[in-house]
Amino acid sequence: MKRLATFCRRNPTIIIGAVLLVLVAAVALAAPSIAGDPVALKPIDRLQGPSAAHWLGTDFLGRDVYARVVYGARVSLIVGLSVAAMSIVIGLGIGLAAGYWRGVDAVVMRFMDGLMAIPAILLAIAMVSLNRASVWIVIVAITIPEVPRVVRLVRSVVLTVRTLPYIEAAVSDGSPAWKIVLRHILPSTIAPLIVQGTYITASAILIEAALSFLGAGVPPEIPTWGNMIAQSRLFIARAPWTIFAPGTALAMVILSVNLLGDGLRDLLDVRLARRMV
């Protein structure tokens, strides 16, 4: 208990970020029991201000803004976390191979440079117009341009670590190549990957919101913060709450993820942490 208290005092950003994020995740999970129907229309009550019946008011179709914000958290979190997980898993595999085997490196990295040049939003618009819009399409479209960033990060760690004497020592112990990569090099990539993962999460949530805003993302019947902002922008003067509610939620989630990421970086990167003391 005392150690936990010390940890909190030393790493306030991790705690603030993590607590906010857990809160949002809890709200998203419990959405059906803490909020009403996010798609129920009540045209007669449209563009109402906050009241006891509708805590955050209603939008231009009379839908409950509070319910829509709560349900919108689901899409944001699912997209953010899935993109982070997928790009890290794929990028880690490619990065380890590229960093360790020079032949793989030459070919794969040129391909990655090409991928990096594709903007996520453009790719998503293309993919959504070729297929039916779905959350999965959005996730894949955002993941593809994130993978090369992870590959570059992992590869740079591998290139640094593979020249260290303990790798030579492992080779002289008769370890096969796969064992050297998985057992001796992989662990060194975990810390930077955790940090990178939080940043990917934040940027994926933002890109998803942008796609929804443009109407190129998640199907419109699913409430997301992005399409809420898009639909409400015409009524910003009459009913500002319809835009502030999802906007604030989006800002808060991005902030908490970034706080968590900054805190983790300071905690995991010993060199940076020393400089801060």
Partner: protein, 330 residues
């Protein structure tokens, strides 16, 4: 001498650089008997470490290649084995201890993990058995409270203890040959003696032979039975250790010995420390004669044009010099 564990014949390892071929090891031959400790001494860049790496074939192929010679070990020529067979030798039959105990251990794995790994790779034992072996090896290298220390990470250990861990890893599979590349150079003087004593003790116990690579003649005197003196990628002298110190035949060996600082009183105290004039020759240039000739006080015209053969001077004492008679008289 009994059946040799390792016999190296005419080993030649070259580095192919943009400016030409660097002959890092140029026709080196030697044998190590079972349970013997053979020292290789010489200054930085004379090819000691490259010899060790060549035996285990650890040089990155883009850097350097062994272009000639044979390395016979256990009835096979290591230079002709495929990579899988070579992995079965490395760490199992021939193990290596490196110079830098601070960086030769993986910082993200516990020392127990790293000792157990060699056992797991080579001996097909279960994880539990490998871990038991790790604790046993730590006890063997005299790390107190080994059962707890196996769970430590390298940063929790001192330099001397890390080198003990390296030795534990090297010996965990009962190798027939231990190659120690400057095993004590990075350690405090007080720890050096402990580590050397430990290595010799364990060698006796396990019946392994040691190839001790060092630039420190003190280490050689304390640990080795026979010594090879290398200069510019070649062997210039080889002798039983006492014989070498009593009767150094090669001018380079003499120079090495004269450059050891000694304590003394009176005149000896005021004497300047001897150095060998000149610098090591560029290994890219062809050397038709004796490589040491340009720095040698005994050199004649012949030394510059004709390479001296390794002549036997009795009792296994060989030296490559045209003028051993004059060197002895001096």
């Amino acid at each position: 001498m009994s059946e040799p564990v390792l016999s190296v014949e005419g080993l030649r390892t070259h580095f192919f650089t943009r400016d030409g071929i660097t002959r890092a090891v140029d026709g080196l031959s030697f044998v190590i008997g079972a349970g013997e400790t053979l020292g290789i001494v010489g200054e930085s860049g004379c090819g000691k470490s490259v010899t060790a790496l060549s035996i285990l074939r650890l040089l990155p192929p883009v850097l350097g290649r062994t272009v000639g010679g044979t390395v016979r070990f256990g009835g096979r020529n290591l230079l002709e084995l495929d990579e899988a067979a070579m992995r079965g030798i490395r760490g199992n039959r021939i193990a290596m201890v490196f110079q830098e105990p601070m960086t030769s251990l993986n910082p993200v794995l516990t020392v127990g993990d790293q000792i157990a790994e060699a056992v797991l790779i080579h001996q097909g034992k279960s994880r539990a058995e490998a871990w038991a072996r790790a604790a046993e090896m730590l006890t063997l290298v005299q790390i107190p409270d080994a059962a707890r220390r196996v769970h430590d990470y390298p940063h929790q250990l001192s330099g001397g203890m890390r080198q003990r861990v390296m030795i534990a890893i090297a010996l965990s599979c009962h190798p027939q040959l231990l190659i120690a590349d400057e095993p004590t150079t990075a350690l405090d003087v007080t720890i050096q003696a402990q580590i050397l004593r430990l290595m010799l003790e364990l060698k006796e116990r396990m019946g392994a032979a040691i190839l001790m690579i060092t630039h420190n003649l003190g280490v050689v005197a304390e640990t080795c039975q026979r010594v090879i003196v290398m200069y510019a990628g070649r062997k210039v002298e080889e002798a039983p250790v006492l014989d070498l110190f009593d009767r150094p035949l090669h001018p380079y060996t003499r120079g090495l010995m004269a450059s050891i600082p000694r304590r003394g009183t009176g005149a000896a105290r005021r004497r300047r420390l001897a150095e060998i004039p000149g610098i090591v020759p560029n290994l890219r240039d062809p050397m038709p004669g004796c490589a040491f000739a340009p720095r040698c006080a005994f050199a004649t015209d012949r030394c510059g044009t004709e390479a001296p053969p390794l002549d036997d001077h009795g009792g296994g004492h060989v030296a490559a010099c045209w003028h051993t008679g004059r060197v002895l008289a001096a």
